[in-house]
């Protein structure tokens, strides 16, 4: 049986992981390579590297780090942040990424998804959507959640999947950072409308939140989180034990 995936997300700026972390046995808490390896050993099913660098120097550092990670960590690696052109796809794929996640780049140019899916295959193209309720309607936001595009979220996501996106990361701005659980209402609405894997993001605060997510929404395939893993509030190995106890299929390491 296919297992539900647990995915830690690492925000990388100027070659370092942004959020402060503290693990025993991890010498350099902000080294993306060491942290990626730590998560992989601990049972992460996949990793997301998010490049939040603004400068071109930082960009170069990011691709160096990507290469180093891909040469040491042998689980699937998704890369996002600043992906605007097919050349951006090409650069990160050559550095060892398995999937590329697009957000604002696809909003500016929806043809990017089609082009990338034709060139690299749908399995390689992830649409990441930042979604927030505005007057009771799910709206897509761009630029890291700062700008309301006015687009209705489900229409947008369905269109991206039709154009060739092979996976959806749904990040709820409403629950992001609140740590009171995933946005089940939003995730339900989206997961019922697409046939590709849906990854839930935003809101995980404890182990229970993942159990509730997978128990309530069988069409959600994976849960993504950053700070609760980075701060050690939830340990992936223990999370997976709990999931198994609750009858959720998981890969135990």
């Amino acid at each position: 049986m296919i297992t539900k995936r647990i995915i830690p997300c690492l925000d990388v700026r100027d070659g370092r992981v942004v959020k402060g972390m503290n693990f025993s046995g991890l010498k350099d808490v902000s080294s993306p390579v060491l942290l990626a390896d730590y998560y992989s050993q601990g049972g992460a099913d996949e990793l997301v590297f998010y490049d939040i660098t603004a400068s071109s120097d930082g960009r170069k550092l990011f691709t160096d780090i990507l290469r180093e990670t891909a040469s040491k960590v042998f689980i699937p690696l998704t890369v996002g942040g600043g992906i605007n052109t097919i050349d951006d796809f090409d650069i990160v794929l050559k550095c060892g990424a398995d999937k590329v996640s697009v957000n604002s780049g696809a909003i500016r140019n929806p043809g990017l998804i089609t082009e990338a899916a034709l060139k690299y295959g749908s399995q390689c193209v992830v649409i990441s959507a930042d979604v927030k309720r505005v007057d009771g309607v799910f709206r897509v936001f761009a630029k890291g959640g700062r700008e309301n595009t006015g687009m209705e979220a489900i229409d947008w996501i369905v269109r991206c999947v039709k154009n060739g996106a092979g996976e959806v990361v749904l990040n709820s701005i409403d629950t992001d950072g609140v740590k009171k659980g995933f946005d089940l209402e939003m995730l339900k609405a989206v997961s019922e409308c697409v046939d590709v894997p849906v990854i839930a993001s935003g809101g995980a605060g404890c182990t229970r939140d993942f159990i509730t997510l997978f128990k309530t929404l069988p069409r959600v395939d994976a849960g993504l989180a950053a700070s609760i893993f980075h701060y050690g509030e939830v340990k992936i190995s223990e999370l997976k034990k709990e999931m198994k106890k609750n009858g959720i299929p998981v890969r135990e390491v």
């Binding site: 049986m1 995936r5 891909a70 399995q123 092979g166």
Partner: protein, 202 residues
Amino acid sequence: MTAIIDYGVGNLFSLACSFSSIGEEALVTDDLKMLEMADRLVLPGVGAFRDARKALRESGLEDGILSLVKKGKPILGICLGMQLLFDKDYEDGVYDGLGLIPGEVRAIGEVISKGLKIPHIGWNALSIKKDSRLFKYIKNGDYVYFVHSYHAVGCECDTTSVTDYGAPLTASVEKGNVFGCQFHPEKSGEVGLSILKAFVEI
């Protein structure tokens, strides 16, 4: 030395690194001389069968590969590279494969239950059907990473493991010196590396 056959399909960086990490020298190459020198071959592949088949034919390496394999050199096909080993493929038409293992490649949609997502993406367990030299270091039920919409059928005699996705899908095959993994050992953590280690020890 292991030669990873570069016929212009997909990115072979991680694959090469996975061999280095188990202490095996791996060379990504499109040079037939290097394939001849290598102790074993890896046939990778992503994307559509037709494109990969065309790329392999146009690489000019096909006859060389077939003759090396017929002389006994071990070859491991991975994902689409495994699908290329069979007689026939039915992805958007009918295409001839390399014919190294009897069987054909069909859409998983023909066998899996309705409502399951296609492609089959993620970690799934191996159910071992027959002993394989690739399984020296792994056990029944170990998890590996899959990404595929097609799978091999009619190859029961050579199937060494299957995985359950609403129906049993062919996960690995072995026939003499010809091996195939539908999953990605280079993306399957320690289990995947153990499979590659077993391959290089053959």
